[in-house]
Subunit: 343 residues, 4 copies
Amino acid sequence: MLSFACDYMEGAHPAILNRLADINLDKNTGYGLDAYSDQARQLIREACGRNDAQVHLLVGGTQTNTIIIDAMLRHNDGILAATSGHINVHEAGAIEACGHKVIAMPARLGKIDIDALEHHMATVTAEFNAVGWEHYVIPRALYISQPTELGTLYTLDELRRLRGICDQYGLYLFVDGARLGYGLMSPACDVTLKDLASLVDVFYIGGTKVGALFGEAVVVLNKDIRLTRGLIKSHGALLAKGWLLGVQFATLMTDGLYWDIARNAIDQAMRLRQGMVDKGYELYIDSPTNQQFFVIGNDRLEALQQRVGIDIIEAADDTHTVIRLCTSWATTTDQIDQLLAIV
Amino acid sequence: MLSFACDYMEGAHPAILNRLADINLDKNTGYGLDAYSDQARQLIREACGRNDAQVHLLVGGTQTNTIIIDAMLRHNDGILAATSGHINVHEAGAIEACGHKVIAMPARLGKIDIDALEHHMATVTAEFNAVGWEHYVIPRALYISQPTELGTLYTLDELRRLRGICDQYGLYLFVDGARLGYGLMSPACDVTLKDLASLVDVFYIGGTKVGALFGEAVVVLNKDIRLTRGLIKSHGALLAKGWLLGVQFATLMTDGLYWDIARNAIDQAMRLRQGMVDKGYELYIDSPTNQQFFVIGNDRLEALQQRVGIDIIEAADDTHTVIRLCTSWATTTDQIDQLLAIV
Amino acid sequence: MLSFACDYMEGAHPAILNRLADINLDKNTGYGLDAYSDQARQLIREACGRNDAQVHLLVGGTQTNTIIIDAMLRHNDGILAATSGHINVHEAGAIEACGHKVIAMPARLGKIDIDALEHHMATVTAEFNAVGWEHYVIPRALYISQPTELGTLYTLDELRRLRGICDQYGLYLFVDGARLGYGLMSPACDVTLKDLASLVDVFYIGGTKVGALFGEAVVVLNKDIRLTRGLIKSHGALLAKGWLLGVQFATLMTDGLYWDIARNAIDQAMRLRQGMVDKGYELYIDSPTNQQFFVIGNDRLEALQQRVGIDIIEAADDTHTVIRLCTSWATTTDQIDQLLAIV
Amino acid sequence: MLSFACDYMEGAHPAILNRLADINLDKNTGYGLDAYSDQARQLIREACGRNDAQVHLLVGGTQTNTIIIDAMLRHNDGILAATSGHINVHEAGAIEACGHKVIAMPARLGKIDIDALEHHMATVTAEFNAVGWEHYVIPRALYISQPTELGTLYTLDELRRLRGICDQYGLYLFVDGARLGYGLMSPACDVTLKDLASLVDVFYIGGTKVGALFGEAVVVLNKDIRLTRGLIKSHGALLAKGWLLGVQFATLMTDGLYWDIARNAIDQAMRLRQGMVDKGYELYIDSPTNQQFFVIGNDRLEALQQRVGIDIIEAADDTHTVIRLCTSWATTTDQIDQLLAIV
């Protein structure tokens, strides 16, 4: 069935499957110590313009968020995140299971409210200085996602402002890039990969949603963050056949494949969006990335669901529902045409 | 110096010190297996009217909250609490350090907003049913404090309503009673100890702030909560000289001493309150318990602080500050008179 | 280069790669709720003769051990394992990172010493009964691997005896089957899959080392073990594209493919073993499975290592070394011939 | 009843009770920020000859061990300890509950076998270097107790040798001093407090067993160990009425009271020992401190237990039992005489 329910319904870009088949019966070295992983890590360092970066290849998003945060925080440290941030709502308490509080900050359209963040840090700093920091969870890191869970983007100016706040208050800045390709390839995005790599302490390049079977490439830029292979192993996340990750990211990072296929998702999303608007559908959020949100009358919803896979977000009011339609690297023009013919 | 900064500035009721001195050189049995602890546990069961209750004597409040919550929750379970709840703000992340998320709910004057709680539970239940509970922190328990951190009280009707919500959604109901005496002894309180013991799954009777050198008596009423001595030990909280706790609670629970000395704090708080109001001070909250909150002009604040210990809560506006004055079991009429002569 | 260094150097059985390619651009359902995963789980239940079994598909071995153990244990519970058990030596403390002690028991040739285990349980039970269990880590589960890390096998009689000990002392019996196919397909093995499923509380069928790209299929037989999808998610182990696991295990479990390819590893291991013995190499352990251990003179070792990948286990004495040679589902007759021509 | 079952049966030295009574109704500052705690910390720094030491006052032994170890270790780090070490056997898994493995080393008479330790470190270092440290628990600290759980003592030479091993392999050296007074005051001990403070990274001076109602004074000498007040709070171990600890240690550390009363326990232990030997009892261990161990015929055991509290250690053989008799700061000459009249 035609579906736009999420952006991880397909397997991998065919180039990846082909390369995996090519080396399938080779005797590969385990645990990410293979040449493919080395190549992937080097290509990522080069793309970031940061030859000093440490790169780790992990399997999935929650796992990656957990390990990065566990590497950054100690004891009574916590991490600030938008109320709507993935780690605050959709990870079954994985961060807390590692012993750390997610400190929820007000959000607007998926983005942390920077004024509110600044006010919060000023307020708690004054308060904790007065009474003693030992009674509190100490904000030690800031989590944002680019693009956000609602498809929106931080601008370069906003990232710089967040960097300034982090510097002022001694916070690590961590960017969840599960959909990074779909963010940076949006025409609305004024942030480049090198900008990101020069501004943040750690981020990752999402593969699961952008052309890989699975995989997230963590880029650690601040040497104070001790994200070791032993930490990864102790989380059960050191893949025995690490070359599976190496081959995938080496393929994606060669000749800009990752960015090219990400751009396809944006192009198709823009066609989808325009087509829906032309047919009178109301946008819920002005998203410049691959996730598009619409308000749809409940009378039309059921019929639509029988023909197209969609994601229900929440009730808009008694008679309308917010839905999400996602494109991906694999979305075809034909699929968009079919959708627009149906709606 | 005269001080009303908090309610744990004094040691213990003299009767406790005397009994500790009496048995000081006896050969006592360790780890809470002594006769004093047995007596204390039995007196507490009787006072609660629940001979089936399990009673454990612990040292401090954060320790007690952590152990109770660790006993109730597993894996991706979380605990609901008012935004202003002690476990959410003042315990340095001790709950998260045990692996569990505190799910913050809107609060009014220190009390959880019951309508908001009910709405939240209905909403997330519908949402989790639709998408699968595995992505979320599952609310498994509700934390409230009686009286609250702002001195306010839940009524019997409110407790019953909370019990109903907990029954409907499969939540344990846990009452932090760090100041329980100061709550139940308020003339404004329509909840008795037996009411509490019949309505909640677990609660504790605070000793540290109400006449003991230290100590919190946990009363477990729901047998599904496996709060074992082994759990206590693994938290480093099984006091070697457990009889120190046994003697204190046996003393406090004999002839109603705990309740009598708690009532003194209320009586003195009411005198303090009336005196302050008579002198034109503005109440910040209408608290019927031993913590009294006032709004005071910043011009008078510094002079006051030089003569009386007070607790600064927060800025009320640019020229006024919210302060807290606490009475305790040890507060004397003379101390209140001195305060009222100063302000 | 020719290599027998481990049994997870190759990718997957070609039938798996083909099926993954076939469905690569389908719109698949996420998080293991797809039809392939359903089919895999049902085929596994049928093969086990336990239609009541809960089956979960996970990515890797350490992750799987951690999640199973976290599901079985609470608070001050621990898990018994052979000193040489994988969880005790090779998992970077992943079990302890979840809060639980691995209680190491004497081992012989990779197998737990059952007499020593029985003696230990009798002794600590008496001791803990005398002093109080609260001071100790309570043995609550027993971990064994079949085959073991040294290639040896538990007999059916031994498994029954372990079951009896577990019943007597209230222990869960957990079998790590990372190489299960290579164990059950050995002619020396008198244990069937159905035997295992009728005797133990939880075990897993290893895919990573037996024909899959990755994947371990957990079979939970005791309903008291609450291994939930939420627990899996909170460990960062709920694979977004769960159908990748479903397709792999559905393929392996169809028409006995898993067992057939496992048998190849045994056949090749027996040829390797006989060839080495014929050439005068000394066996270190009498292993009936795919891992073969030899004692080799250090004078020959370096030359060998330049032509064949091998695994160094430890020094046997000043002039000899213990090495391991592994076969796998992918090992060919030609590879064994090449090896035997070299040594 | 006459009892020598353990060394924490009595309350506190009368000087402590008197001082607590003196300040009982004062308005004291909370959380260890009071003048008594300042004084105690300063007296301890002076006694140690280490004005740069950080001192923290905690309540109990398991709590203290857990917090110190949690401060020293990260991620897949573990701590080496004698098989018989308290953290390995008597703390209900508290260390593992904080995420860390206790790596058990062979012991002789309660002391870690230093040759075995040295061999272990050399072996695992070679092995981990070969295969990659990420698969293993990394030894990062060494735990010893002085005196040990069996009453024995490390000599100054042994401590220096341990220091050398720790330096060579990058280990923190941590000394559990729950009975430190009873160790350093033994005529057989050639280690002074200043020696200890110059050789180890962290240790503590036990109060619970040596004259205090409760309390352990942690002395952190290595600034890399981040034992913060926030960590203490997040473990539920920041005592609200911290001055109770301050007063106790200030009293004990004034005019050498702690050492004087510790010496009484040794003097009485030596009388007890000589008396028992004179009566033909067999020493189990040659202990120079306050714990004395004897082998006693089972025919005499029951009668003895009816008149004297003793601690049963284990069966020596079918007809004999190992027992422990402890003296303490509170043991009187008369009590020893009574015991010797009975046996």
